[in-house]
Every structure is written in C-alpha cells, then in structure tokens.
C-alpha cells in the first residue's frame, strides 16, 4: 500500500462498518452475559462447529510473484464450514422437535466467541483473516438472526407456515436476503478501498456467490432443518459434504495461482529479453484492469483483459532484433500489426482462453475494428510507451503522453477509453489495486 498523508476517501465507510460490527458484537456479548445462555447444548454444538470451521479455513498462502489480482477468490468464502454453521445457528428454530429460545444476542455472541477461538491459531501463525472479513461475518449473522429469531420466538413463523415445506422455503428466502446483504457490504467495502464503480463490484460479488456462497447457504439451510428434524447429529453428517466442497475449491484455487504465476513469468520474458522496459507488462496489465473496471467490465471479461495485457508484447520475442526501448507504439502501423499477430500465435498455444489471443492479435488494429479489451490494451500500452520515452519527467511526461493519445483518437485510440484512462490516472492510477506485486 502506498503511504498517504491523509486518510483514503473510503476510510469513513470502512470505519463505520467495522464500528457497527464491533458495537453489535459487544452489545450481544453484554446481553448474553447478563441473561445467561439458553439451551447451552445447542450453543456448544454450533460453537464447536464454527470454531472447527474457522480452524479449517484456508489460510491464503503468501503468494510470491502473483500478477495483479483482478479476480482473486475475493468474495469466495475462506471458511465455508464456519459460515454455514453460523447461518444455521441464526436460523435455528426447532431442535429435534423442541422449540428453541435463543435470541439474536446469543446467536451473535456464540458465533463471535467461537469464531475468535477458531482463528487464534491462524493469528498466532500470522495468517489471520482481515478485520473486514470478521466485521462482515458479524453483521451478516446479526442480519440473519434479526430477520428470523424475533419472528420465530414470537411464534409468528410456526403459526403461519407450520413445520412443512413452506418453512423450508422461508429459510431459503431469508438466506438469499442475507447473501444479498453480504454482497452489498462486501462491494461497499471494496469500493471504499479502491474507488471502483459500485455496480460492477456488486455484480462481481453476486456472481461469486454462485460458487461456494450458494453451497454455504444451502448447507446452512439444511443444517437448520436437519437439526430441527434429527437433532444435533445432523451437524457432523452435513459438515462432511461441505468440507469436500471446500477441499475442491482449495485445489482449484491452488492450481489457479500456479497458472497465474506461470503466465506472469511468460509475460516477464519480454522484459528479460530486453524487448520491453522493466515492469512494462505489469504496469499495462494493472492500468488496463483499472480502466476496464471503470468502463464496467467485470469477472471473466476482466480476467481476459488482464491476461491479454500481461502478454501483449510476447510477439516481440520472435523479432531478430529487439525494438528500441520496446516501444511498439512508435512503430509503423503495419509493423505493429505484424508483431501483434505473432504474439497471438504464441498466446494461442498457452491454453488461456481463445479470447485472450484475439485481444493480443487485434491490439494494433484501428479502434473501430477492435473489441473493447483490445481498445483498452492498445491505449494503455501506448500510454506506457509514450510516458516512458517522452520528454519531461513524471507528471509532464504523463500529460504529454495523454495529449498524444488524444490526438490519436481519430483513428487509433477510442476516445472514451482515453478519457477513462485520464480519469483513472487522475485518481492516482492503478496504485490502489496493484500493491501486492513483488518484483
């Protein structure tokens, strides 16, 4: 992270969310201590489940050399078992046929206490979860419990819905609402951190929910219903399939990380070969991703854009003599296109999606013939080349480069993309997103 003399503009939002979570947690603790525990058996069982789930969380391994992460498993739940257990406790109405009486404060207090107990070993190893994550957990569980427990304890739910399929569907509806609330919170926090537009972020979060999020919600529902029908034995029985899901996700994430590292290395090849200035591929990738977000891209489109930007210069490896300074933007148009075609050929063999190769291939075409990601890569690449080779220093070079891009908007660069790039640069570039890129 960059050091900033004044707090980031989103600091207020982040502070408010954390403060609310802290306040809720403390209030619930106090209330529970004052009134004592209802059904300590249930509390103990669910607390153990949450603690074990936190214990089994996948600590993010300190990844080295990962490229700028546009779509890291953000939004995917790192401790699905704990989340499912917490939601199930919030929605627990009946236990083995007998109604329960634990209210909102006890739910939150048990989940927070168990969660804290579960993350102690992780914190001790220096890989504890972020504060934002904890805050989100507290607030979402509080939300779910607030939606369900007062209604249930007042007898409204049983009276209107009985104990049949309608009750099950009601629980699902509540969990969907909770998931929505969680996505809104997550997008809010991200927006506060990065300043990206809210819409695409929310869309990303909702899309991420389709992954492990839906498995968590389904298991949460089934746990609440299973305990209602069969007692606490349902908890261990249901925990196993979710653990299987977690293991699958972990392996997937691991191989994904490895793949990203390899692609980043391939992208660095041009720098080592002296074809491009150091850091060029990474800068273009980060800036392209930022511009893409600004233009409303998300999820898979953003990943394609980022990979294409990382590998956009790979065609230069085929040249007998490196281009001076690697600045392809200064070459004649025909030459640029030829290099782009060569690059597309290499990229096609890497196994990344076909769309990436297309973007690399088309990066030198006039903008009217280009798909949007190729327009972005073209403009950003030209900006980086021009800013590096242009006269003047720092801000002057950047301004000069932007000016040259604006002059080229008749044919080469899309005007909207250039304006968007100018906005992103004015905001401080992609620095907020790409802090975690070593060497």
């Amino acid at each position: 992270m960059r050091l900033r003399p004044r707090p980031r503009p989103g600091a207020v939002t982040v502070g408010a969310v954390r403060g609310a979570a802290l306040l809720l947690g403390l209030a619930c603790f106090g209330s529970t201590l004052w009134h004592g525990l209802d059904e300590p058996g249930n509390a103990l069982a669910f607390g153990t489940l949450v603690a074990l789930g936190e214990l089994a969380r996948w600590g993010a391994p300190p990844g080295t050399g990962t490229p700028p992460a546009a779509e890291e498993p953000r939004g995917s739940e790192p401790a699905p078992l704990a989340a499912a257990g917490a939601l199930a406790y919030a929605l627990l109405g009946t236990s083995a046929g007998a109604p329960t009486t634990h209210g909102v404060p006890q739910t939150v207090a048990v989940v927070v206490a168990a969660g804290l107990a579960g993350i102690v070993p992780h914190v001790a190893r220096g890989r504890g979860p972020g504060l934002d994550h904890l805050a989100r957990r507290v607030l979402t569980v509080g939300f779910a419990a607030l939606c369900f427990q007062p209604l249930y304890n007042a007898g409204v739910v049983t009276e209107h819905l009985g104990q049949g399929p309608a009750y099950a569907l009601f629980l699902v509806l509540l969990l969907l609402l909770t998931a929505l609330c969680d996505a809104v919170l997550a997008a809010l926090l991200l927006r506060a951190r990065t300043g990206f537009p809210y819409g695409p972020l929310l869309r990303d979060e909702l899309r991420a929910f389709l992954g492990i999020g839906s498995a968590v919600c389904a298991t949460g529902t089934v746990m609440a219903l299973g305990v209602a029908a069969a007692g606490l034995w349902a908890l261990p029985v249901l925990a196993v399939p979710l653990l299987l899901t977690q293991v699958s996700f972990r392996r997937y994430a691991a191989v994904r990380t490895v793949n990203r590292q390899t692609i980043a290395s391939l992208a660095r090849a041009t720098e080592i070969a002296g074809c491009t200035p150091p850091g060029h591929a990474r800068r273009v990738a980060a800036l392209s991703a930022a511009v893409g977000r600004e233009l409303g891209l998300s999820g898979a489109e953003l990943a394609v854009l980022e990979h294409a930007a990382l590998m956009h210069d790979i065609g230069q490896l085929s040249l007998v003599d490196p281009v001076a300074g690697g600045a392809t933007a200064l070459l004649p148009a025909e030459e640029q296109r030829r290099i782009a075609l060569l690059g597309g050929e290499v990229v096609r063999r890497t196994g990344v999606p076909e769309a990436v190769a297309v973007v690399v291939e088309r990066q030198a075409d006039p903008y009217r013939e280009q798909p949007l990601p190729a327009r972005i890569v073209r403009a950003v690449n030209a900006y980086d080349d021009l800013a590096a080779t242009g006269t003047g220093e720092g801000a002057a070079a950047a301004l000069g480069a932007l000016e040259r891009l604006r002059l080229g908007t008749a044919r080469d660069y899309h005007p909207d993309v250039v304006e968007c790039l100018a906005r992103v640069l004015a905001r401080g570039g992609a620095a907020g997103v790409t802090s975690a890129v070593p060497g």
Binding site: G97, V172, T219, F249, A269, I272, G274, S318, V346
Partner: protein
C-alpha cells in the same frame, strides 16, 4: 481431518473410464456375454417392482428418478458456453437416498433413466448406456437390500417422529459400502473381459480410490433421506445436493485449469523454440532423460515432477538472448559468448516467481556448472552444485549429442554414453552418469516428443527464417578456436554456445562436420 481426495473418480466416472476400455473397435465376445448377464441381473432386480400387486410408492420413485436423470442431464448440454461437467457421480447421494427410502426393487428402478440419459464419451453408445444402467440397477438393489436388512426404514423416522440418528448411520454406511463394492466388482469384471486383463490387475486400485467419495455420498444420501421423510419434505432434501453439485463442478474446473497450466508451461518452452529452432523438442527430451536419471536414483514421485520441469525449462533463459546471437552463423566474439552464457541467469530470473517449481529453479540457474568448477555462472564445484542441476546437466549433454543438430549428426547412444563417462568427474557427476547408463540399459531410449511442431512464422524481414538441418546448413564456417570436448560442447545446447567450449581443450577429436 480425513483427507478427502476429490480426485478419486466416483463410480460413474469409473463406469465411463471402464467403458472407455471398450474404445477398442471389436468388443470381445466375453464382454458381450458379461454385459448380457448384467442386463439379465438388472431385469431380475427391478422385476419385483413391476409385478402386479407390488406396493411401490410410485410418486417417490418418479421424483427420485427424475431428480437423478436431471442431475445427469446437464452433462449433455452446454450451458452459458461452459460445459457442466457432470456425470461424474455427483448424484450418487440421490441413488443412496433411494436405497434408504424405497423397497429394493423400486430403488433399482430409479437408477435406470438417469444412467440411460447420461452422456457417453465414445461409441458404441447404446451398449455403454445399457451396461451403465444395468450395473447401476444391480448395485442400487444390493445397497437397498443391505439397508433394509439393517432396518433403515424405521431408523429414518417419519414425519414428526425423529430419526434414530446415530443408529441410522449404520444402514447408510453399509449401503454406501455395498454400492461401492458392487460397482467396483462389476467394473473390474468388465475391465477383465474387455481388456483381457488378469482379474487382479483389473481390480487393482479401484476400491481404494472410490471408498472415500462413497462415504461422503453415503452421508449426503442419509441426510437427504432423513429430510425427505421429515415434515419439511423433498424440498428440503434437494438442498443437500447443492454442495455436492458445486464441489463436482469446481473439481471439473480444476481439471480444466490444470490442463491450461500445462499448456502454459509448454508455451514457455515453445517461446524458446520460436527463437532457436535448432533445439526443437530438445527441452522435452531433456525432461524425460532427467526423469529417467532421477527415478534410477530412487527419488520420490513428487520430486520426479519437479525434475521433469527442471529439464523442460532449463533453457528458458534463452528467451533473454537476442535471436541474432542464437541463430548466428559463424564464430562468436567473446562478447557475444558472454551474452549467451547469461541464459541460466535469465532463466532463473524468469521462473523465480513460479512457486511450485521449487528446486527446479536452482537447476535452471546451475545447469551449466561443472564438477571441477569450470562451469558458469558461478563456477561452483562438486557437491555445491544443486542435485537437480547435476541431473539436468547430464540429461542436457546426452540429448544434445544424440539428436541431430544443424552442425552435427546425431551420434549413437553408446557413443554418447562413452563420452559422458569420459567426462564424469570433471564435468559431470559420476553418480548421474551411472544412473543414466543403468536406466538406458533397462528402458532404452525412445523419446516421445509432443511439442515438436514449432509455429510456422510468417515470412518477414525481422523474423528469423526457419532453418532446417539440411546439407546446405551442415557446413559451417570454420571455427578458429581449438576444439573442446564433444560432450562439453553438446551440453551447451545451441550452435552458438557450442563454440564457447573451446577454452577447455581436452584432447577429444571434434566430430562436428565442418567445412
């Protein structure tokens, strides 16, 4: 925590893979007879349910059968551009729930529509479908009989009656075990009859791989059955399936990503090929030879993977060397030689961010070191050189000598080995050389190269013309320097770098064909 390996193929995946054996054009008569028997057995399994007067809860049967079919169906269609890679047994929980909920014959019936509809990878489709349905019906019937014998119907509870839960784990576990055993036995049978394998080979490993997934499916099936019978009804039971479905979906994604990753590694290699077409296929062969050596030394399986990557990627740093130098005809100046000798360091710089390469990164940096300390980049000697680097150095030299280059004919394997043995101790670790000799004695040398075709570069002024090893290329300008050892020269891997070897000048004659 039990280590759950989602990689273990679940039963219907195995069915697919087993029937994959039937990809042989002619299906042996024994296999046809075997499938016929299975069909008869399946008929006998479902018949009691179809007899008039049988009390079958047709509603439940239809629901479960439809659910199973629906879950198997997505494998057939591509949704939103990405295939939903099902048919990997994600819905055995449905079958196990059926085995727990229904009378045995009716349970067997639920398996049939789904098995008939699921995707078939290869022809003959009809036979495969029939076999799959028959095997599933027989296995489910066996599982249901077990569950019944252990009192599943009463243990599950009904409506507001709570199930007898710790006890219900017994019939559910037994049913899952029996399903697993039955499918494994049937699979092994078809492997034996189709592939002509001896029975022990046919069954080996099948059971171990499928036991854990079946246990998980058994638990999910139990919860499904419990919820199905509870007051919440089948709707609640559906939600049990979602985590299973997602876990299998993710698992298939994992496989896709893994394939993509291997392609990326290959792309790194091919990027080298673009620059230096003399060494086409060299990287992969060095990888194979390195694995041969490492296996002979008794390295663990996961280290073999790493040593293979070390072999494949050892020359990746050549990407950093200007193409003009790599493809230069004629002698290199000392300055140019120094640039080429930078390639191990370039390679290390490139791959240092790739975490899983581990020890291979050191091998890439040090594969031109020599035992007597005369190598580069650091002039390490003896045990200072990382083990993998010593392995790759031998493999690299061996392949360079036994493959045809533009500047030299391929030499026969014994000649190359003799050359290596001559240089063992000074250039190469004798242990590695001995291991290579022993391994080749045992397995021979038939390198299979997959990444052989280099991309046809479009003609253009700045692109190196494709150079083939032909008679007109075989003659090179005379090298003004004194000759080096053949092995040392070969080990450097490229034509240009080969000229570097001169300084050492041991008294070996130079078998290069020079004008």
């Amino acid at each position: 925590m039990v280590r759950i390996t989602p990689s273990a193929p679940s039963p219907s995946a195995r069915l697919a893979s087993v029937t994959g054996v039937m990809g042989v054009k002619v299906i042996p008569r024994a296999a046809r007879a075997y499938i016929g028997c299975a069909l008869l057995g399946a008929g006998a399994c479902v018949l009691p349910a179809l007899r008039p007067g049988a009390t079958v809860p047709w509603g439940t049967v239809a629901l479960l059968a439809a659910l199973y079919a629906l879950c198997e169906l997505p494998a057939r269609c591509r949704l939103l551009g990405r295939s939903f890679p099902m048919g990997t047994g994600s819905f055995f929980p449905v079958l196990l729930a059926a085995a727990l909920l229904l009378p045995p014959a009716a349970a067997a019936l639920t398996a049939i529509p789904g098995s008939l509809l699921a995707r078939v990878e290869e022809p003959p489709a009809a036979l495969r479908r029939a076999w799959r349905a028959a095997a599933a019906a027989v296995a489910v019937r066996a599982a249901a009989l077990t569950a019944d014998a252990l009192g599943a119907p009463t243990a599950l509870g009904r409506g507001p009656d709570a199930p007898d839960l710790p006890y219900a784990l017994l019939p559910a576990g037994a049913a899952a075990l029996v399903l697993c055993l039955a499918l494994t036995a049937l699979d092994g049978g078809i492997r034996a009859t189709v592939g002509g394998l001896p029975p022990r080979a046919a069954w080996r490993g099948l059971l171990g791989r499928s036991l854990v997934p079946h246990t998980v499916h058994g638990l999910a099936g139990l919860m499904m059955a419990v919820l199905w019978r509870s007051t919440y009804g089948p709707v609640a039971a559906l939600f049990v399936l979602l985590p299973m479905y997602i876990s299998h979906w993710v698992f298939a994604q994992y496989h896709r990503e893994r394939a993509a990753h291997q392609a990326t590694i290959r792309a790194l290699v091919q990027a080298v090929d673009i620059k230096d077409r003399y060494t086409r296929g060299h990287s992969e062969r060095v990888g194979q030879a390195s694995v041969l050596i490492a296996r002979e030394l008794g390295m663990a399986e996961d280290r073999l993977d790493v040593v293979r990557f070390a072999g494949i990627l050892h020359d990746v740093g050549k990407l950093g060397v200007p193409t003009r130098l790599l493809t230069k005809d004629g002698p290199l100046t000392p300055e140019e030689r120094r640039v080429i000798e930078l390639h191990p360091e370039y390679g290390h710089e490139m791959v240092r961010g790739i975490g899983f390469l581990g020890e291979a990164r050191a091998a890439i940096l040090h594969h031109h070191e020599r035992m007597d300390g005369s190598g580069y980049p650091y002039g390490l000697h003896g045990e200072q050189i990382p083990e993998f680097a010593r392995v790759v150095a031998v493999a690299d030299a061996f392949d360079a000598m036994t493959s045809t280059r533009s500047y030299s004919r391929a030499r026969p394997v014994p000649t190359a080995l003799a050359e290596l043995e001559r240089c063992a101790g000074t250039h190469f670790d004798p242990r590695m050389v001995t291991a290579l000799v022993r391994a080749l004695d045992r397995h021979g040398w038939q390198p299979a190269v997959t990444a052989d075709e280099a991309p046809p570069g479009p003609p253009g002024g700045n692109v190196p013309p494709p150079r083939e090893a032909g008679p007109e290329q075989a003659g090179h300008p005379a090298d003004p320097e004194p000759p080096g050892t053949a092995a040392a020269e070969a080990a450097t891997g490229t034509d240009g770098a080969a000229r570097r070897a001169g300084a050492d000048a041991p008294p070996a004659d130079r078998p290069r064909e020079r004008a």
